[in-house]
């Protein structure tokens, strides 16, 4: 049913349609509206046969999820940023134990400096945690990916993170097609756990594993994600048959057929990039974009196939690895092994900085002339950076960096108003 609604509320409705049995969460912006919505549905009886647990921390949220999933219940939680970091030990534990928990990450920057706005540094920091990570481009896709996530997680007995941009998606009101109960029930079978804590058939879960078996256990985690590379497109195709929409899959291309320059990105920024590409196409530039939906497992083959005829690739990413550069870009380079094309990394949208068509067009244009530096920080204010660097050179006790910069930005605004 078509509805005009907030992204978070849409996701809450999608989760409810999946008939979760245990939901546990700790509030953190911008995830709150999702769990508030679910809490109300459980309390109001709209979502019966479900336990909603208000826990005391994200570490507890993931731990409760581990317990309930191991006891055979379909389990959901949601978090963001600091919350995801606070639960990291349990995040790794959930995947190590092979528990099919589904978690929304309402992507938000990690502090310090504290910042509540969107970028991808939270979920990307967990890229090696053994969780499948799917990135939604729109609220419709966020809804659809959550429904697919339960199927994927339970089929493989692996946890899945559905990543959606905080505020940009979670708090945006737009048109969303919410499926019917019948559609979801037909698509998503009842959860049949591979392992379950059952007094009538007792097993030990979480035993100490030494060097004699640790490699094999960890390899199987990798092997399962390799299976996911096949399963994700299958599930997306099945979803299309049942819901009459393209949603999910490994990657999605736009204007790639004859593109010399291919932009690669994840999440909601793909919309802005497509608009920019439309403008540039109108001006005769052969440019296209590849959206990566499945970041883990990383679809090396699909990316390679999409890039094989390109002359250059520009990776736009909302986080970076301090001390080296792009993270998605590194994975893209792995996919391009043996293909001689140039690659550029554009770090953009950190801590919620708007990514404008104007700025994107500038860097894309430079890239088409191969005039773009290998690593670019989009819209970086060099005057502010240099001022702080000068301050640090001049004085040993130069003070806290972020606060200095905020003061400089304030002065700058005052001068220009």
């Amino acid at each position: 049913m078509l509805k005009q609604m907030e992204g978070s509320q849409a996701v809450a409705e999608a989760i409810a349609l999946c008939r979760p049995e245990v939901i546990c969460a700790y509030p953190i912006s911008p995830q709150t509206h999702i769990v508030e919505g679910l809490g109300e549905m459980v309390k109001g009886g709209e979502l019966p046969e479900c336990e909603f647990i208000n826990v005391e921390s994200e570490f507890a949220a993931m731990s409760v999820a581990i317990g309930s999933s191991a006891a055979g219940a379909r389990t959901y939680t949601a978090t963001a940023a600091q919350g995801l970091l606070f639960m990291v030990e349990a995040v790794y534990n959930a995947s190590g134990l092979g528990l099919p928990i589904v978690m929304t990450v309402a992507n938000r920057a990690i502090g310090a400096p504290i910042n509540i706005w969107n970028d991808h540094s939270d979920s990307i920091s967990q890229r090696d945690s053994g969780w499948i990570q799917l990135f939604a481009e729109t609220n419709q896709e966020a809804v659809d990916l959550h429904i697919q996530a339960f199927k994927l997680a339970e089929e493989l007995s692996l946890p899945v993170m559905v990543c959606m941009d905080g505020f940009i998606l979670t708090h945006a009101y737009e048109r969303v097609d919410i499926p019917s109960k019948e559609q979801v029930d037909a698509f998503l079978p009842k959860y049949e756990p591979r392992q379950v804590l059952d007094p009538n058939d007792p097993v030990s879960i979480g035993a100490m594993v030494g060097p004699e078996a640790f490699t094999e256990v960890r390899y199987l985690e990798h092997q399962k994600q390799m299976q996911a590379l096949e399963l994700i497109p299958e599930i997306a195709a099945e979803f299309k048959a049942g819901f009459q929409r393209d949603s999910g899959g490994l990657v999605r291309g736009y204007c790639l057929e004859d593109a010399d320059t291919v932009v690669v990105a994840m999440g909601s920024v793909l919309g802005t990039i497509k608009d920019t590409i439309d403008e540039m196409r109108d001006a005769g530039v052969k440019i296209g974009v590849l959206g990566v939906i499945s970041f883990r497992p990383f679809p090396l083959e699909a990316v390679r196939a999409a890039l094989k005829n390109a002359k250059r690739v520009v990776v736009v990413e909302k986080t970076f690895a301090v001390g080296i550069g792009g993270i998605l870009a590194t994975d893209i380079r792995t996919a391009m092994d043996g293909i001689a094309i140039r690659d550029y990394t554009v770090v953009a949208g950190l801590g919620g900085r708007p990514i404008t068509r104007k700025s994107l067009r500038e860097v894309f244009n430079k890239a088409t002339f191969d005039e773009l530096p290998a690593l670019t920080f989009l819209d970086l204010d060099w005057a502010i950076v240099n001022k702080q660097l000068a301050r640090e050179r001049a004085k040993r006790r130069s003070g806290p960096t972020a606060e200095n910069i905020l003061r400089d930005v304030g002065d700058h605004v005052a001068q220009h108003s």
């Binding site: 245990v22 546990c24 731990s63 317990g67 309930s68 006891a71 007094p199």
Partner: protein
């Protein structure tokens, strides 16, 4: 407290004395059909109080729940010695997740069971225990424990307190008693051993949550321990049992003295044995003749620095004062016996 018609100390031995009791009054451990929930073959040290406590407690919980029990376990000695891959000593469904989350994992299991029963997918009334050592309970797992308590989740949490991080080589925890030597509170400096005025007694904090049931116990009094576990299982909601379990390795005590030291901890008043309901103390295990703390301290190498060429009288007096305070605070003296 547990009712026992025959006082075993009257027989001149401290053996469990089942032969003196009617069959239906005998302990779960004396029952041929006990579940051996923590089965033999595990790799605990000789004289391990935790292994003993866990077997007593989980067997009693199994007995009380008609074997419908799931256990969540914190990282620590109990987890390591019971499940070296690919072996397991557990005869109950058992999960180990992390060091600091046993209480939360148990909450999740209890929530799952609740929903499964609601849906009619199971008819069994499956109950949940969480267990960990003092480090996993009073330190790193304390946030999850307090959360489980305040939500009154239907979980029995059992802490096996041996007063330190024994698995990692005997380091101090917030349950390490004053003056005790650990690898991080060495018997050197102006105040040798663990400082006075630090640490926490989690049973009191559990009571402050006003949960249905809180109890302490030792492995010296099997019946009392079993009684408390079974009693805990008659309540719904959060329950906490704190069991003192000597660690021969960490305490520097002969492995044959585990039961003796447990008893001395109680009989000196250093470890108060009591129970409480909804935040109020309802009873305590009485001390017949209070013994000086020295009798408990002297056999343990972790207190050896108190008994050198120059005995640390002042420190021993301070420890005696703590025992005396416990005796007052928890009404531990058996007035009838005196």
């Amino acid at each position: 407290m547990s009712f026992q018609p025959v006082k075993f100390y009257q027989t001149g031995t401290f053996t469990v004395g089942n032969r003196l009791l009617e069959p239906d009054q005998r302990s779960v451990q004396a029952n041929m059909e006990r579940t051996n929930s923590l089965n033999s073959g595990h790799r605990a040290c000789q004289g391990c109080g935790e292994a003993l406590g866990a077997r007593y407690a989980i067997d009693a919980a199994m007995h009380a729940t008609n074997n419908q029990l799931i256990a969540a376990n914190a990282t620590g000695c109990l987890e390591v010695f019971s499940t070296p891959y690919p072996e397991t000593s557990w005869q109950v469904p058992w999960i180990h997740s992390l060091f600091g989350n046993a209480a939360a994992v148990a909450t999740g299991i209890a929530a799952a069971i609740k929903v499964k029963r609601l849906k009619g997918e199971t008819k069994e009334d499956v109950r949940v225990v969480a267990q960990g050592g003092d480090g996993g309970t009073t330190d790193i797992g304390f946030g999850c424990l307090s959360g489980m308590f305040e939500r009154n989740d239907d979980v029995l949490y059992i802490c096996y307190d041996n007063g330190g991080y024994m698995n990692t080589g005997v380091q101090r925890s917030s349950a390490t008693p004053p003056a005790a030597r650990t690898a991080t509170t060495m018997p050197v400096g102006a105040e040798p051993g663990n400082p006075f005025g630090q640490g926490k007694f989690v049973p009191s904090i559990a009571m402050a949550h006003e949960i249905p049931y809180v109890a302490t116990a030792t492995v010296a009094d099997l019946r009392d321990l079993e009684h408390k576990v079974k009693k805990a299982m008659t309540f719904r909601g959060a329950r906490y049992i704190h069991i003192l379990v000597p660690c021969p390795l960490g305490w520097g005590s002969p492995s044959g003295d585990t039961i003796k030291l447990s008893r001395l901890a109680k009989e000196t008043g250093l470890f108060p044995v009591f129970e409480a309901q909804y935040g109020e103390i309802t009873g305590s295990a009485k001390i017949r003749e209070p013994l000086p703390v020295e009798e408990y301290l002297r056999p343990q190498k972790r207190y050896a620095h108190l008994f050198g060429k120059k005995p640390a009288y002042e420190t021993i007096v301070r420890l005696q004062a703590l025992a005396d305070r416990n005796i007052r605070r928890y009404s531990l003296l058996d007035k009838e016996a005196n």
